[in-house]
Symmetry: C2
Amino acid sequence: MTVFFSKKCEYGLQAVLFMAARDEECVCPAEEISKKLNIPKEFISKILQSLTESGIIESKKGKFGGFKLAKHPSKIKLIDIVEAIDGLDSFNSCVLGFPNCSPDKPCPVHDQWGALRTKAYEMLSSETIDKFKEKTLNKIKI
Amino acid sequence: MTVFFSKKCEYGLQAVLFMAARDEECVCPAEEISKKLNIPKEFISKILQSLTESGIIESKKGKFGGFKLAKHPSKIKLIDIVEAIDGLDSFNSCVLGFPNCSPDKPCPVHDQWGALRTKAYEMLSSETIDKFKEKTLNKIKI
DNA sequence: TCTAAATCAGATTATTTTGTCTGATTAAAG
DNA sequence: CTTTAATCAGACAAAATAATCTGATTTAGA
């Protein structure tokens, strides 16, 4: 079905961008994220849990608990979120599924695809999420 | 898991490149493709069937039957195979999974991602598979 | 005409991904 | 100390994708 990020990763990216667009210190219950972004509550909870383990966000338990960014938005890159959820394998493995695809033994589209993938990686790792605050606010009503 | 093409699509691309690298007129039984490319026979058969329906390859039934390209390799583009198997939705839908992502209502990474995706599309639709013959031969022993 | 070797077709199974349910734990506030 | 509202945790269910099995049909050649 040709997808780039898994659903989990899409939701994780959405959620972190959402949190970055709000007041930094304010904790955000999973339920609120679920409603604002139309993601099943239990599912986003699981994703937020794993992002907590990765140190990208942190959780506050109990009443008035929730999630918030663990670092300043200018310290969080998109690729950090992708890595935490989907991993970086796809940036290293062959797009056609051939084994041992490498510069020595390139698959037919090795060079062309490699260049594109590198660009994608660079984009995801150059941009920090504070840059997206405005655009996120345009897209999601907080 | 961050993947670009589905397994089906990867296998379909591999198979078509394989056929293009052989003598054009020679029909290729599914079993041979399965063995050379290490793809489960019944699975690649199904994929080849759907590529036959799409008119990219054609099948010859019965003894000494098999599959071969329906057109000259210079007339088949990578994107044709992707379209036949995975469809082109991913080139039009939001990479972050936001609904109604468009230039009017762009998602946070709309511009950056759009540019990359366009490049990917251009690559897949500019290159015809005859260009890959040599590289395929290097990768797969026929 | 018969047999072997292939595609074709549909049902079934397995695995992965996505999503749901239930209950325990934690912490704030009356 | 009790209630309430949240995370945490693990089992469970559903859906999508990947793979397998079985048998029918087709066709070349003896």
